[in-house]
Symmetry: C2
């Protein structure tokens, strides 16, 4: 049950399940895959610590009408899973497409650290354009 | 000699060599590891195609006094290598630290596609601050 017990197959499975849960907007499953003490580093935005704080942030960022995490590539080394994705989302009737990579550290089948890398201005510009700005 | 011939070990070795070459600012080795028809997707910046165009871009982006690609995590699946890095650099006496992930597609021991993901504004702000802006 220690943090050294996660196999590469288990780590991959956890991250694949997390991507699938996002694509269903399955908040219960997203929450289940986060460790209590998870640390979420969301690009240049402030670091968020704890499952409760991450779930508050996710709910506050939405609600999303649609979400799809398109998984381009995924690989694992020990308990670290690296992903290359395109996240597609619709929020308040506005759609955005986000090229993104993410690193996930897994312990006991849950995500203990989640680090996403993307260009924040490119993301925000898609919402601004649709408002006519 | 086809593009399907690269083993995971060869793909990892090519990317490790590329990271090491950057950390020595070894332009000849950087060039040697790029395929003639390489495609370089540098975050939100314009796509660059061909080895000659990428080398022109790299030389134009510098000259760098110092560079270190700190490799936090690396993993491979087939011929795709995913990296999580912190790139440290000094240019014109100004230093910057860039949290970044990159995906590399390898064929015949060379990089045929290189895609980096990072927050461009965070990178540029480090140079702006040092100019007193």
């Amino acid at each position: 049950m220690g943090t050294g017990c996660t196999s590469e197959a288990e780590a991959l499975a956890a991250v694949r399940a997390f991507c699938a849960a996002w694509s269903r907007l399955d908040m219960l499953q997203i929450e289940a895959l986060l460790a209590e003490n998870v640390v979420y580093r969301n690009g240049p935005l402030p670091v968020i610590r704890s499952k409760a704080a991450v779930m508050d942030y996710i709910r506050g960022a939405g609600p999303f009408e649609e979400m799809k995490w398109e998984l381009l590539n995924i690989s694992v080394s020990e308990n670290i899973v690296l992903t290359e994705r395109v996240d597609h989302l619709v929020r308040n009737g506005k759609s955005a497409t986000l090229p993104i990579m993410g690193a996930f550290e897994i312990a006991d089948g849950q995500i203990v650290e989640w680090r996403d890398y993307f260009d924040l201005a490119s993301y925000r510009a898609q919402f601004a354009q649709e408002k006519g700005l």
